[in-house]
Every structure is written in structure tokens, then in C-alpha cells.
Amino acid sequence: MTSLNARYFDGRTARGHEVRLRFDATGHVEITGIEPGLRFALGTLSISSRVGNTPRSIALPNGAKCETDDNDAVDAALAAQSQQRYARLRHRLETAWPYILALFVCTAAAVWGLVNYGVPEIARRAAFAMPVEADRALARSTLEVLDHRLFEPSQLEASRREALEARFRSAVAALDPRYEFRLELRRSEAIGANAFALPDGTIVVTDALVQLAENDEELLAVLAHEIGHVIHRHALRSVMQNSAVALLLAFAVGDVVSVTSLAAALPTMLVGAKFSRDFEREADRFALEFLRARHIPTYHATVILQRLEAAAGRTPDGLDYLSSHPGIEERAELFGRAP
């Protein structure tokens, strides 16, 4: 038998009454302190689950509510009738520091697993389940916008351009026929020696990069990396992964928003950079296979990457974790060094 003090609110006015609740062994509760006294079966009450030491509310069948600070007494009464097993379990989870410590470790592990394997795997499956038209829609009119804002027509000699395009066409001939791989040469002061892929299979290469390369094999190594981005559908996957992480973060620590949005943006950016590095690695592995299948020595990739890095100026050490590309050392390891 348990008893406790509570404030009784009838729901018709805001006036409260001090009452005493007595839980008896027959599964009934008796309320005294108001006229007339009340008696209900425990099963007809709706008792809120425990949240920390905030007051509990006990809703009565007559529309009234009892509010009490005596959480332990309520729990004892419920335990005697074996009610709210899960809620009491959760409260125990929320109270004991050893559980909390274990949970903290589990949370860290779950976040790590989700960011490293869960989200990328789900995004990969979802992307490959979508038709290639999705990638094409993603790239629609992108090149036109870039031509308007960033690019000028290529100033390479026509014969050089045609030779490059012919080399490119024969190299991509055996690839997935659903993509229409096209080589687009452009001149740009702003982005210098550079190459990138649009998700529909358009590969843009700047004049400066063509001039930086000492032979076609080096250029093909760069093109192979860009084709890897297309074949592995990185644009679509990156959109999905980044939104999934941002959403999950917003859900998991909803409080952050009230503290400041900066605290929420930073981890999203860090995770985004990590995803980006993973995609670069995948594109590198594709390039490796691509070059090997065409009997092109893979060290050409290392050579052009090193030259690109020298042209762009060195990035400071220690910032690798923030960078969107893997370090040059790691990539040289993969492609091998020039003999």
C-alpha cells in the first residue's frame, strides 16, 4: 500500500486542492481531501510516464487531474500492479550513469557506423535504383549556365581538339551505353587547369589542363577519374547523402537550433567533406581499372596529379580532414610512381 500527496485540479476551474491518494492492494486508488471523496480502479487512470523529476500527472476518469511531485510513490504503486513496464525501464535507462555511459559509447558508435556505412550504402542503393534519366535531369542546362558565366570557347588548334576527341571516343566505346560520354573543351581564366564531369556524362576539360599534360595518357588518366564519378553516380549520391545527414542531425539534436545554427552547420560540413573524399577514392579506383584495361600505365595519373598540385600551390599540412580530396601521397600510392 502506497500513499502520496497531490494537487487536485478538476478541469473546470484553475483552482487546486491539496489531496491525498491511497493505492490499496486490491488495485484501487482512494482520493481524500475533497468532498465527496473518490475511489477508482487503477486501470481506469491514465498516469503519465516519468520524465526526470518533473511532476507526474494522474488523469482521472471524471476529467480531473492530480499533479504530484512524489514520483517514487507513483512508481511504487505502478510496480505493485506491474504497470508501465517499458516506461519504468526507460526511466531507469535515463537515470543510471553506467547505462548513460554505455549509451554514450553506443551513440558514438552508431553515428560512426551510420556516417561511414549506413547512409552511403542506402544512398548508393537508392541512386542505382533510379533510372539514368535522373542523372541527366540533374545536369540539364548546367553546361549552358557555365558557358555563359565561366567559360569561353576553347582556343586549342582544331587538329589537336579533334585528335583528343577521337582518343576519348575510342576510350569510352566499351563503357555503359546508357551514358552518352562527351568531351567538351573550354577556356577559363577563373578555374585554371581543371576537369570535371556532369552527371549526364559530359566531361569538361580546360585548355590549361590540356597544355599542362605532356601526353594523351596523362589526360586520359584525368578523364578516367571523371568518368568514374559519372558511372558511380556520385552527383545523385552526394545530394542524397548530404540531405540525409543534415536531416538526421536536425532530428537527433533538435536543441542545436535554439543554441545557434552555426553549431549545426559545422558537423554537416565536416561529414560532407568526408563523403566527398570517399567519392574521390572510388573515382580513383575506377580510373585505375579503366587505365589497366586499356593497357595505359597508371603512373601517368600520379604524374599529372603532382603537376596539378604544383600548379595550384601547396595546401598546408594537417588540414587533410577538412579537404574534399584525399592527399596526393595516398593517390600516388594507388597509381604508382613514374619509373
Partner: protein, 343 residues
């Protein structure tokens, strides 16, 4: 706790939440949300709000958060579905995105009303629920009409709009059978924004002066240091200026809510709020998020404890009413799109 004043009894809002206790509830929430891929977040929101509401008391009785997690989950699914559609349209078919935004506009008043109604209906005090009853036409005027007029008036109408929005949200709210009154006038908001504007210009001017002074340093090392210092000082001064404005508006709004001869009084101080917000930010960043619960509790304690109710002897006379349940879609969509619905 209660003191007799000239206008009758004063009752302070009190906050009894503790960071160590809330941390444990929070970490369980985060864990369950992550392993259920976000599904549990609806239950987590209810537990979080139950803790924060339950830790807030007035005149010896606590507030109660009664929302049904399943309603919140449904609302979240609708909100996420809409956002996914909207952002997918942005990536794949930009014209469709503009069309979606246009189609969405007529629903905005509905969302505002439903969001506020959901929050207030699920807030109870002394076994009586709050409520919100507004016409869509008025919500449309406040949330669509005014925002169109403001740029046309070169922002001169902005303080009036802030007042109008607070008035709409307060005066259409109810506690049981009683309707709230909003007792502020637009003039006070204009004065607050005038002070803010003057302060803002002063900070910008002195910031630029410091910047120029930094540029005139002859030594290149001290030039970089001086310029960086000027930028940093300006940044924190601007942050303080915005805190000042937020505190002024919050004090005006929260001191104007009247019910049955009672009125709230809000006495936030810029200095303290700025300090709490800034130290919270650094604590959260440096602890990789672990101090989020501490920051939440600290901020809630300060905000709640700066609020009091004058004329509290009238509390007991307030009358309740019956009410039915309501869906959460409006609130969740509003929350996701960052529509400013709360006071």
C-alpha cells in the same frame, strides 16, 4: 515565492530543470533517434518538451506538454515528404520548384494556425489547456500581406509588422474559456528598432574606423593583427547589437500578455542573455555537442526566471473547457521551413 504588491499578488515563473538530469534524457533521445533512423525523434520531442514544460512552474503548479508522438511523427513524415519533393524539384526540374512554392503559398495561413493551435492545445496548466482560434484571412494578412508590404515601405513598416504579428499570436490565444489580450502599442516597437538602428550604425562606423586604422599600420605583421582584431571586435559588437534588439522585442512582447486582470512582466537583460548565448555557443562547439543539454537548461532557466505574473490572485478563478485533439502537420511543416510562429 508569492509577494503582495500594489497590483495584488505577484507570482514568479520558476524553472527547476537540472543539466545533469536533462543530459541523461537527451542522450537516450539522441541514441534512440539515431538507431531508428529518425523515427523516434517524435517521441524524443515529446520527452524533451515534457521535461522542459514540467520543469516550469507558476504559483506551485507545473506546465504540462500533452502532444501525441504519433501525431508528431505523421506531421514530420508529411513535412519531410514535402521538403524532399521540393528539394528534388530544385535539382531535377527548377521550374517545378517555383510552381510548388506558388502552390504552397495558399496553405501558409493554414500552417501557421494549425502549428500554433497544436502547440497551445497540447500545453496545459492546472488541467486546463491553452488554445488558438484565428481566421485564415487574418493569418493570410499577417503572414503574406505584410511581408509583401514591408520591402515596398523600405522597411519602415517592419516594427509595426513585428507588433502586429505578436498581437495576432497573443490575442487569438486562449486559456480555457478566457482569451488573451495584447497590451503593447506599436510606438514602443518603433522606439526599440530606432535604438537598434542607431546602435547598429554606430557599431558599423566604429568598426570601419578601426579597420582603416589597422590598414594604416606600417609593419605588415601588426597590420594583419590590427585588421583581424577590428573584424573580430565588429563581429562580436554586431552580435551584441542584435541580442539587444531581440531582448527589447522579447521584453515588450512578453510584458504585454494579459488575461483576466493578470499581466505578464518580462525583464530580460541584454548583458546576461548575450553572455549566456555566447558562452553556450563556445561550450557546444568545444565539447563536440556534449554540452548541448547544459546550454539548453541554462538558457531556459534564465528565460523562465525573468518572467513573472502580476495579479496572480486571479489565477484560481480561471475557467476551463473541453477540447478535441488536432493533427501536427502544420507545426512540423512550419518548424522545418523556419516559419516564425512562436512568440
Amino acid at each position: 515565492m508569492n509577494q503582495a504588491g500594489e497590483s495584488g499578488t505577484q507570482a514568479r515563473f520558476e524553472f527547476s530543470g537540472r543539466a545533469a538530469e536533462y543530459f541523461r534524457i537527451w542522450i537516450v533521445n539522441v541514441f534512440l533517434t539515431i538507431i531508428t533512423l529518425g523515427i523516434y525523434s517524435a517521441w524524443a520531442k515529446v520527452r524533451r518538451n515534457r521535461y522542459l514544460y514540467g520543469s516550469t512552474s507558476l504559483g506551485g503548479a507545473a506546465f504540462d506538454y500533452l502532444a501525441d508522438p504519433v501525431a508528431i511523427l505523421k506531421g514530420r513524415l508529411i513535412a519531410v515528404g514535402f521538403l524532399a519533393l521540393y528539394s528534388a524539384a530544385g535539382h531535377f526540374a527548377p521550374p517545378l520548384q517555383s510552381l510548388l512554392a506558388l502552390l504552397f503559398l495558399p496553405f501558409l495561413p493554414w500552417i501557421v494556425i494549425r502549428a500554433r493551435k497544436f502547440t497551445l492545445r497540447n500545453t496545459a496548466y492546472r488541467n486546463i489547456r491553452f488554445d488558438f482560434n484565428a481566421r485564415k484571412r487574418e493569418a493570410a494578412a499577417v503572414y503574406i500581406g505584410w511581408p509583401i508590404l514591408i520591402p515596398l515601405s523600405m522597411m519602415l513598416l517592419y516594427p509595426f509588422y513585428v507588433w502586429r504579428r505578436a498581437q495576432f499570436l497573443t490575442a487569438r490565444s486562449a486559456y480555457g474559456m478566457q482569451t488573451f489580450e495584447f497590451r503593447a502599442n506599436p510606438g514602443a516597437y518603433y522606439l526599440a528598432y530606432l535604438k537598434f538602428g542607431a546602435l547598429f550604425l554606430l557599431v558599423l562606423a566604429s568598426g570601419s574606423a578601426l579597420f582603416v586604422l589597422g590598414l594604416t599600420q606600417t609593419d605588415s605583421g601588426s597590420r594583419v593583427a590590427a585588421v583581424a582584431l577590428a573584424l573580430l571586435a565588429t563581429f562580436f559588437a554586431l552580435l551584441a547589437t542584435f541580442s539587444y534588439k531581440d531582448v527589447c522585442v522579447a521584453n515588450l512582447t512578453w510584458s504585454a500578455i494579459a488575461l483576466n486582470g493578470m499581466q505578464t512582466q518580462c525583464t530580460l537583460q541584454t548583458r546576461r542573455l548575450y553572455w549566456i548565448a555566447l558562452s553556450n555557443l563556445f561550450a557546444v562547439l568545444l565539447s563536440a555537442g556534449l554540452l548541448i543539454p547544459w546550454a539548453t537548461i541554462r538558457m531556459a532557466r534564465y528565460r523562465v526566471s525573468s518572467l513573472r505574473l502580476d495579479g496572480a490572485q486571479n489565477l484560481d478563478a480561471l475557467v476551463g473547457t473541453q477540447s478535441e485533439s488536432i493533427g501536427a502537420a502544420g507545426e512540423e511543416i512550419g518548424e522545418f521551413l523556419g516559419i516564425d510562429i512562436g512568440l
